[in-house]
Symmetry: D2
Subunit: 264 residues, 4 copies
């Protein structure tokens, strides 16, 4: 049971007649025109402005999460919009609801695995990453668990986002023990399984989030904010080139054919 | 009734084993590290990369919409998270659902009013903006309708975001007839009503969206994508400094006091 | 701008250590075992217990709204559940978001049309329903508007729910001027259009809601509560006989075929 | 990874021009006028009509879940409706999103605990319920876990819903080993803890769901369908006696006072 409070507080920001402050910065003079949208997301997450290098890397990881084609979330947003075109926000909300354990779990899972294998205070202390990686892979094998962040049904033998994300991280000083550990885990897993297991985008993002020091619980939030941008893009296309009605009609017809009075 | 389709299509993007394309750009090489999050939102809306000037202005207008303190949406997200902390996406979805006509209507309304008063094809043709503004104000007065984009309950006599947004637009070549018309409407409305009616942030954003040429129906989408970033920020704070439980307890106690068996 | 309040109140109910009251009734002794679920929905809407006759009719109209096969809402709930199976509530929430103007509008619209044509205070006063119906149909024709509650893409020449709903209403004393007016409107519309225009279920329900005296704005709420029951049913089936993954894969493959690098 | 399917199927129902079937029953003649809303929910869950006795008990347990006063969900629905009054469905959807592990977890948890302690095939075979209860309580104590379904912050020493639900179950032949085991667990827990631990409504409902034989994973669905009815009731009250604006203003003012420029 949570505790009662006499005073509600929030450090996110405040407004008076002539001032608007977000995380301690004056919105008109210190944010507008000075920061980009990804920087503001960083500010609201890390509670400080990103350095130019951090800005590069953070924008890249959030951008990676924005758009993945016709995902179930995109289908959901489009089908919802067909029924309630007056409520674009409801269609985006519906689409976000599906970003649960199945789709964003592996990004969280990769970050969590890395933090548990190499706690933040041991970062940069010369830990034996290969040995840690062997333990991680053996532990997952013993539990018959999938190693999060490895493998992709489509992108083989390499997920094209991963080398680019790691390159951007390295160019900007955000490639350290966690990226190296993720790569070591990949090598160990490939050796143990005898097949190619590319680090997928969620594995790369999970590792880079650890380089930033973000708690793994926050990582899902990056997916949610990113995807809401992507879903708005899908709804704009649904206005001009709709697919929802056709998806519905085909499904209804097929169900009637297979399960209706004439079936079997 | 919509029409049936033999072929479903989408121009948003596609993926193959080694390529990922978003709106015609190669994600790894042309987007990651090359664009910021606001630029990607522009790409998904306008279907082309923004120029550096457009990037500045577009990032500023979307950023303006991200964070507004303890709004009903923020309260909703926090109260939802208290009951379902395993589902951050559901809490953001709940918060977005409230971004309807009451809160985002005035931004849409300002853009729509400007387009109806000055259709896009008449932009930059030397229209008599003062005369148009008089008609707009008289028309709203006759219908006893509020002029969208003017006035603010807190920010008086000036909404501090508006001059800064107009400045950024002007510095980047995006201040033309629509910004001027919004300002003319303000002058006419103030003269007619005999009181200060600042152009608020939604009025400024509506006008700048018209400068970009965005259809007014799209404008709500910018609010939705922006606010989802802000709501993630609120949920991160709710994890460390919660207010939802206290809000609930106080309300329940007050209702019991005022409407319970001991009341009246 | 709404007004401030010193005292928040609610008449829905209250709880103390040993009592729970809903709309003035003692939950354990006056509701549990005494009422069915539809009766409780009536209590929360009409603020009194239904008579046995009202219970029959009200349960029938809400039941009619529960289940309509593979609707867009059902597809949305199933697709959402695939991504977040830990959050059944989120999948139902997603499905509800699509119950907007397109799908529930005609039920609201029918009730509204009937109230506007025959205000409640003129009910049962011997109004000339045929004359009113002619005006209603002519007015819709002049505005090129569809008469809400008439016609159905599948159920022709009769929507099989309508005669049964009207029969139940008649057997229980809830068939009066509004049901008769809806039927008169059908006759006039069929004569004017020269084709069969069955009163569909939403038209029947709209008319019966007017017999109850429910404000038309409430009618959508019956659809929302009913459909949430239906959506839970779909999610239970999705657990044992899923269709969401297949729907997704087919769509993604088709889009890649039609809009991917090999297209055109 | 789920499997692909050549044929999508659904046993929920189908419609043709003159027939509508739900779970094998003809909607107009076998459901409308013949069943109440709770019976239909049972049909969609259990895939058969309830007996009159089952109807009594099932309606009672779902009704118990409908209305709990000013819960966080009710606050969420009301706050959302203030911003988007055109979208009642979105406000209900927002409210449902909070029905996660914190609020509906204990109902699921009670059913799961009972099934794990007494698998369905051992029901009615004369198991030593006291011995099982001792083990359950000892096991929870060893894990420092709360026993789900026991205790209530307000309803002491008895939750007034529980004896009535058990009475209705007993009168209708649905009180067997699971209800007895829940009661035995209560006695053991009270003895072990040395204080009153009433079986709360979720414990009673969990036990009765086991008597029905419902899988524990389904139980949350009853909460979701019930609460959507309750939330519609709250939104109808919010239309006539709003509290959302006041809740918002108070919170915003308090945050400004405690965390704004004048604070501390």
């Amino acid at each position: 049971m949570p505790k009662r409070k006499d005073h509600l507080t929030s450090d996110i920001g405040w407004s008076t007649a002539d001032q608007i402050t977000v995380r301690g910065l004056d919105l008109p003079s210190e944010i507008l025109g000075e920061m980009n949208l990804g920087d503001l997301a960083f500010l609201l997450t890390a509670h400080r402005k990103p350095t130019p290098e951090e800005s590069k890397v953070f924008n890249a990881i959030v951008i990676t999460l924005v758009e993945h084609g016709i995902t179930p979330s995109a289908m959901v947003a489009r089908l919802t919009y067909m029924g309630a075109p007056e409520s674009l926000q409801g269609a985006v909300a519906a689409g976000l609801n599906g970003l649960g354990t199945v789709f964003v779990g592996s990004m969280e899972g990769a970050a969590r695995m890395l933090y548990e294998a190499l706690p933040a205070e041991r970062k940069g202390q010369g830990a034996d990453l290969d040995a840690i990686a062997r333990e991680v892979v053996a532990d997952h094998a013993a539990r018959k668990a999938i190693v999060p962040g490895l493998g992709h049904p489509l992108h083989k033998p390499v997920d094209p986002r991963t080398p680019r994300l790691f390159e951007i991280a390295a160019e900007n000083g955000l490639s350290g023990d966690y990226v190296a550990l993720m790569q070591a885990i990949q090598r160990e897993a490939e050796a143990a399984r005898g097949k190619a297991l590319p680090i997928n985008a969620t594995g790369a993002i999970g590792a880079i989030c650890c380089e930033f020091g973000f708690p793994w619980q926050i990582v899902r939030g990056f997916g949610v904010m990113a995807r809401s941008i992507g879903l708005v893009g899908h709804l704009l296309e649904e206005r001009s080139d709709p697919m929802a009605f056709e998806l519905w009609q085909r499904t209804e017809e097929e169900i009637l054919r297979n399960s209706g009075p004439q079936a079997g």
